[in-house]
């Protein structure tokens, strides 16, 4: 009886969810931000040096963006190393143009000092990399726009999906990768496509 009800409920659920539509508008190069750019989001960030900046200030070059937190012992270091490897695998000209932005899930603990410590530990080049924090609402919105799931645990850890997202020069999602222990050739190819798209 209950099983029957559940099956009906599940069927209803499937109908409910079967109605999503998605269309990608063609690339434009006007000054107006594309409608599907994540730079539409008003997101105030503070970098590892304590300097405030807006997410959309990254417009203009391709950006690898990922979320992490400083006290993370497991996949977060892998995410950072994976981005380093991917950037290293690019041609030198491309490598110099790509930016990397890591945003913390953990605004309560990830102060600029904590972010700086991570950048030192992983020897990241701060000319191209930014480690940043935002407020709790900003974290939720950025995760939502990137499709990252995360959940705070009582012990101070976060369970979160690992995701490296490549944004094109206009802030549109060009590629996503959830690989953290093998070089994702698709991500590298996407950088090439993105840069080629701007300079035909």
């Amino acid at each position: 009886m209950i099983r029957h009800k559940l099956m009906r409920a599940v069927a209803f659920l499937l109908v409910l969810l079967g109605t999503s539509a998605f269309a990608l508008p063609p690339a434009t190069q006007s000054n107006k931000l594309p409608s599907d750019s994540i730079y539409q989001l008003n997101l105030h960030l503070v970098d590892q040096g304590g300097k405030a900046f807006e997410l959309r200030s990254l417009r203009g070059e391709p950006v690898f963006i990922a979320m992490f937190y400083a006290s993370c012992k497991y996949t977060c270091p892998l995410i950072i190393e994976e981005i380093k490897r991917t950037v290293q695998a690019l041609d030198e000209a491309d490598r110099n143009r790509v930016r990397v932005l890591l945003v913390s899930f953990d605004p309560a603990r990830d102060t600029p000092a904590a972010l700086t410590a991570v950048s030192v530990e992983h020897h990241v080049n701060l000319a191209h990399w930014t480690l940043a924090r935002t407020d709790p609402t900003g974290v939720r919105k950025l995760a939502a726009i990137l499709g990252v799931q995360y959940r705070a645990m009582t012990n101070g850890d976060f369970n979160h999906s690992t995701m490296i997202t490549l944004l094109d020069q206009e802030g549109r999602i060009a590629a996503k990768s959830d690989k953290t222990s093998a070089l994702d050739s698709e991500l590298i190819a996407a950088v090439g496509r993105t840069l080629a798209g701007q300079n035909p």
Binding site: L16, S37, A144, H160, S161
Partner: protein, 261 residues
């Protein structure tokens, strides 16, 4: 000029006037220990719910219309695609006009981003899952009616009702807190919809190179017999923040001093 458009549509002016005259009604909920189906420590620990104020009814079409009339960037023909899919507010007659019969129905075809923006305009935010679940555990007489088979059966019978019939107006029977329509009308966005089901295992079984989730522990659901609540979690978890559907609406939460993130 939004004003000129409104003047051409008298009932619309009346609807918005009424919306302004009566500020949205919120009720205080004291909070307390709560056995959420999503336990805090992934095992069995009770959650502590801080005091909060919950909107009595879901946001109606008329209320959402008043919002987009002021905040025009949230109108369906202006909204950035990254914030809402193509079905956003597709049930309205025009980008700033609704049918009279829709006025008091709960607004649906709204994305998480749009719901969040509406709540911010009321000095509020979307409730967390825990806040929603806490209030929704009640029935008309008890703060926690979840163990009652009749409570579950009533919700499941709503789930199995066909979704092509017109939505009722907001303002159904009040629960013990004075909150209405938590069950039986629409599904509702919560602030942390993308935090509910994060992994049952940190590794994809088929590909050891793919670590999809970070975190040592597996998320485990408690009270697996409670389909009524678990289905809602499954539904919310399957949504993306820009998705809109004909059955998902929202309400808002206000928090007093001492809000923690």
């Amino acid at each position: 000029m939004p004003w000129l458009r409104l003047l051409g549509n008298l009932w619309l002016v009346l609807a918005i006037g009424a919306g302004h005259a009566v500020a949205a009604d919120y009720k205080q909920i004291a909070g307390g220990h709560f056995a959420s189906v999503l336990p805090a420590d992934e095992k069995a620990a009770d959650m502590q719910v801080a005091p909060y104020e919950l909107r009595v009814t879901p946001v109606s079409n008329a209320e959402f219309l008043a919002f987009v009339t002021k905040s025009t960037e949230w109108q369906r023909d202006r909204i950035a695609r990254v914030f809402a899919d193509a079905q956003y507010l597709s049930h309205w007659i025009t980008s700033d006009g609704i049918d009279r019969a829709q006025r008091d129905q709960p607004v649906t075809h709204v994305s998480w981003f749009a719901a969040q923006a509406f709540c911010e305009s009321e000095g509020a935010r979307l409730p967390t899952w825990l806040e929603w679940e806490f209030a929704a555990a009640a029935d008309t007489a008890r703060k926690d009616a979840r163990a009652d088979p009749a409570w579950r059966e009533q919700i499941l019978s709503w789930y199995s009702r066909p979704s092509n019939s017109a939505l009722a107006a907001v303002g159904g029977p009040a629960n013990v807190y004075g909150i209405r329509d938590l069950h039986g009308l629409v599904w509702e966005w919560v602030d942390d919809f993308n935090a509910l089901l994060v992994s049952t295992d940190s590794r994809d079984q088929n590909d050891p190179d793919r670590l999809k989730f970070c975190g040592a522990g597996a998320m485990s659901l408690r009270d697996l017999n409670n389909y009524a609540v678990l289905m809602r979690i499954a539904m919310l978890s399957s949504l993306k923040a820009a998705d809109t559907t004909a059955n998902v609406g929202f309400r808002c939460t206000k928090i007093g001093a001492g809000e923690k993130s």
